[in-house]
Symmetry: D2
Subunit: 429 residues, 4 copies
């Protein structure tokens, strides 16, 4: 770790202020009611995200490094997420029962902590504290994306959206575009290096950088789009067990999946997609979002032409990429497309190659430690490592990810059945 560094502190102060302000801006237009309710155990209330990110700075920075007591010790119980070493915490499925402290109190607390952090950064903190603020900024950016996806899930539960109120005029009458061109980036394979090393910030789970042997492969230069997904659906994709992993097929049957999450059939296969700005028809040129890893895997198997009579868009042999394949190719490409800063919060139609933006790409890789991985000591060491079981890796970023938050080595992860993130897929072969 570097020594204390005034320039770094000033830079961090600016990034911190912008990031903290952005979390609040995301709630523009929301009522206190919108911000307190929890729509499922996997999701959290908007207010909880605002509070938890504040607790993070109070607990890991202002307490140990500035010697400041917390605003209210009782709140630590409410707003600790999963850090066992940081004390007992409120059970996750009960986050939505906390009507007090209210949104206004939490916003006051945020402002107070922001002031204390700014003062602390002017006091010449040690590098270790700066590292933790860097981590706190990344942590808050992650929660900004979750805030949006959790909010979307909540709003989608309101039956007035789906059952009774038509979307506003004009949202459905766009001329749907055709499929965008699909290119393949060929890679000769061989011994490559993946994972984070070097001076910039990265989470612990992105390292150590290490060697991996790859066989020759090709990676699609854009994600799968709604047009391709509609072809998969029309070809019986959701009704053909041979396309599916056993657990995936069980989920299809138990959950009644017939399309991605947030799609509804307005009649005779005339699909509508719920977005944070209303319902619309799926655009064939737009990357498909809100699919599980099971669905992504089934699509790739279908696209491989295994399925008799398949009208596969990609020819024989497609599959999901491994995370090492993805990183090896994507490390050479610049981020492009839609991120959260655009305020669109929905994938945009494509006309050519696309990397990092729009939707996360599910991979074929289980989320496991890299060779030589060690968790950090203390509560911060619980950040990533203890979740390395039962989850699959996603790579890239999405229309809900803050622009500066993406990098080639970033490892996002969710259980293979999760669908409420902006999760899509990119084919390999």
């Amino acid at each position: 770790m570097p020594d204390a560094c005034p320039d770094r502190a000033a830079l961090l102060a600016a990034r911190l202020a912008a990031t903290r302000a952005r979390s609040v801006t995301l709630t523009d237009g929301l009522s206190a009611e919108d911000m307190v309710v929890q729509s499922m155990p996997d999701a959290s209330p908007v207010k909880w995200h605002l509070a938890h990110t504040t607790w993070f700075f109070e607990t890991f920075v202002l307490g140990p490094h500035a010697g400041q007591p917390p605003h209210d010790p009782a709140w630590a119980y409410l707003f600790n997420s999963y850090y066992v070493a940081a004390g007992d915490r409120h059970p996750r499925p009960r986050r939505g029962l906390v009507t007090r402290p209210g949104v206004a109190e939490v916003l006051d607390w945020r402002a107070q902590v922001d002031r204390r952090l700014a003062a602390f950064l002017e006091s010449g903190p040690a590098a270790e504290a700066l590292d933790l603020i860097d981590l706190g900024i990344a942590h808050e950016q992650q929660h900004q994306e979750l805030l949006l996806t959790d909010l979307k899930h909540l709003l989608a539960q309101n039956p007035l959206r789906y059952l009774l109120r038509p979307a506003g005029p004009g949202t459905d009458d766009r001329v749907p575009g055709g499929l965008p061109p699909l290119g393949w980036v060929e890679h000769p394979g061989g011994l490559v290096e993946v994972g984070h090393a070097g001076p910039g910030f990265a989470y612990d789970n992105e390292g150590p950088r290490h060697r991996v042997w790859l066989e020759p492969f090709a990676l699609a230069d854009r994600p799968v789009t709604c047009g391709e997904w509609l072809a998969f659906m029309a070809d019986g994709g959701y009704a053909t067990p041979s396309l599916w992993l056993s657990d995936g097929w069980a989920a299809v049957q138990a959950e009644g999946w017939r399309a991605p999450l947030y799609w509804r059939d307005a009649g005779d296969g005339d699909w509508r997609v719920f977005t944070l700005s209303g319902e619309r028809r799926p655009d064939p040129a737009e990357p498909v979002a809100h699919v599980s890893q099971y669905e992504a895997d089934a699509f790739a198997r279908w696209a491989a032409g295994v399925h008799a009579g398949s009208s596969s868009p990609a020819g024989l042999g497609t599959r999901l990429p491994t995370e090492a394949e993805w990183e090896t190719v994507a490390a050479l490409r610049a981020p492009s497309g839609t991120f959260a800063d655009a305020g669109r919060y929905h994938p945009a139609p494509l006309s050519g190659p696309s990397w990092y933006g729009e939707v996360w790409d599910w991979t074929a890789s289980a989320y496991l430690p890299y060779p030589g991985f060690r968790t950090a000591a203390g509560a911060v060491g619980e950040y990533n490592g203890k979740f390395m079981s039962g989850q699959m890796v996603l790579r890239g970023g999405s229309c809900a990810t803050p622009t500066g938050h993406v990098r080639p080595t970033y490892r996002n992860f969710f259980p293979p059945a999760a669908r409420w993130q902006f999760s899509g897929l990119r084919l390999a072969r």
Copy 2:
């Protein structure tokens, strides 16, 4: 039913206005966040109660009798509780997911409906409409009690209440009183009449009035108090299977019951009771509340002295009364004690006989139709009759019941495991 009656309309208008205003007054001091969250499937959000009672008047009075369309047809889906004949409805466990329309919109709607009802009542409505307004007032009073018990359940979920914040100074230092005197009202039995008949309002389930044969019995002149309940607990009441019905013992084990709902052990049996105005020590003179019918039944069996070594307060042979026994005695007694209008929302200590107030009395009677009972035609016929299975009758009223809402023939009913109402017991023998 009587014909149109101007005096009755004017009287109803006054009662209606007072009742409607009181529902809103009950929410004084609550935030919008407090009013939107649902704490369990059995409970409803405060906002939902405000909206549902409004929907009731719109649907059963203003629509069919004043020819007025609803404010928003979509809201009928959200705020219908269980009237199948009134159309599809939002599933009960999902009432807490409705963040929009917000509290402010619902309050506007209430005011608008109140104005329309007032105008309608001045227009000389037919008796049938007046009957429905009478029903609507009673319905709203019932929901006022539920609003309070549901709100109490929600606030009790907040861990800051229980785990981390001491009750304010002064609430715990009262000198506990002794047990109030217990008298027995003897009744010689014989052929009695029970049930509603006559001009005043009553729910359909209170009739027809009919004859019942009673054996001689006696009924306690006050409910069981916390002091008596503490003796039951100290004598191993919650650990002695022979005192319990089989289903009750299963609930004790599955739910880990060791005391009434909202009691917590502050250490070594030093109990605290959560109330809507803070935590306090249980007062021995105060009727015990928030017990299930299973617990009430076990207490009565314990009090009967069946349990070896029992220090029963009541001597041999106690049991829960039947609803006919209760009504026969209580019909001759005037209501007294604490009702919702006192704003206390917690049972008060007793010093003598007590009827109708403080806590509901669980009975030994299953909630079943009286001989000759017929459900009314149409959706209003679903009010009571279809719940006549699997529930037990409670009689009287409570500290959360509006004063004018009690009467000797009133049949309240809940499943025997329910504890979140102000439910207590009165012994018979």
Copy 3:
């Protein structure tokens, strides 16, 4: 209780031997595999019934009254059903996991206990012991009926019965009879006495005998038949929520009920009924069996003509009888029809009045204690009393009930959703 009585002992010895032998005879044709498996938590394996009834005599008679140690103390843990005072016991849902001791060992144990009981009865036992043997005989008869209904449930789970193997030739080609005549027994009401009193054996829950006031009523002279049930089904009985109790409708939807248990649609409403001797078409003249109390209640409401357009067989105003109404009329009628001794184990077609045989009659009465009821001391006191919650009373008997086991005061009870007994209904009005 009477003093020791040699004649009574000899009489009991004969009845005991016949009853015990009959339990074993019921298993003729069963493999050990058929006798060990448990098909659902509510049911028990055949072997368990054989063992539990033996444990009953060992525990309540041979131990305390003959001073004999149990054959194997460990077996008491396995074969105690629910007597808390008789020690810990194996959880009910795990009865099917007990492959050892095997059927042969259990039969040896039975024979040994039979010999010991016979010797004990010759030794001049006291009246108290004779009473317990009387209870043990009744207990074993009850378990004979459960053995048959549990076995039927198990065999019905085997998919070869339903899915793949046609019933044998000839079972389906009977000419279906018409509906049998339906008469009504009118009763003027008034003060009647119900419940057991007097010298003969009865369970504790049948007393004390007590007075009940009845309004005038009429009771059907036979149960509802399959022909009537088919009319209810054809008239949309299972698809009309207004006919159902709220809990009943929830069960219809959750369980997908469209017909009685063991009925299957062989195509286009051509129903087949699974019986212990194969599948057959439902006979219109045969009492309907295997319906829940919810279904019985819905049928009665349908038959009352509440349902618009109803082709009710019974005219206006039908309902289920109360148990007091049932007993008052049935006490004057002699048992007739099919009981277990016929070996048919399925209701027979009717051509006139029918009492006690064929199917149990669900009543409108919750299973609650009679006025003055007290449980007996000790473990035997757990026989009936602790189940007086959440269940409904059935009266009469069935084609699986041993002939001598029926009497007017007999109170059978099951939860209202239970369907695997031979439960039907008889209308009142």
Copy 4:
């Protein structure tokens, strides 16, 4: 695939006969009752294993390659496990409800199919059919191991084993040995090849053979033993959340894990281990079995010395090996120790290096397809590929694995929470 080959057919005929006979021999001493019951949804009845393996030959060999109809088409529904392409099948959790056909019928069917297979093998079948018989032998060997682990689970459910009957004299009085020596096999890392290639039989999931880059590592030359596991337990291993994956800790709390499956505390930490030949004290020199991958992972983290105050047996830096590391080292070692043929069905104490026998070794690798893996066409293609999600790889073999069934490339797999297999672990660093 090779062409038809008479010598291969003769060889296969001998192996087939021996394998088929062994399945029946495994059931010596079992009653029909022991063979019909299913103790949990993950396990199957012994009879089902005998039938399913027979169905496999009938369906995949005798039908398509010998043109022979099945013995009973209805049985295909009962005894298909999960092959969607082979038709509908009986739900797995209901396998224990099939009391008919009985054990005797199934054994007759086995003998008949054995005769038909022998005749078919003498008829000069094509290579494709021989390949399927090879697969069928491997399949039957796998089921032999499952038969033993499922049977062990069933017998362990019988409370007489645990609660009431002491183990026979002599089983508990052995002088426990000390820990066996632990050596480390060092490997320099680099580019290695793993996976199956070549003429011998292997499952499809073992290929294609491919290159993997390894960093330098060392692998323990024997599994972890009960002595080491007792030290982990004594050091609070099951009570220290920082040692556990998040899902693992959730399982510890939900399931109440305090020791491996089949261990019980006879008082004050005096542990007993249930085995197929009775209860005994855990031998410190015996490999620990019946631990989940979560427990194996927690042990490795504890052994790494991360836990403050740890008395780790292995020094810093231990972890579970990857499957590539395991295979690279184990491919050079000969199988040794206890396999199913020894009839011991429990791991034996070690005195030095041990490979393949005693217990399966959990690895750190998720069960995923190798690069270039393709599923075979048709129902046989469902054998392995569709389970490549949510499971972890085990390597080696166990005391319940047939001797000839192990090889370096063999990939066994179970969910990380599974404990009823003979699953242990071997450390890497």
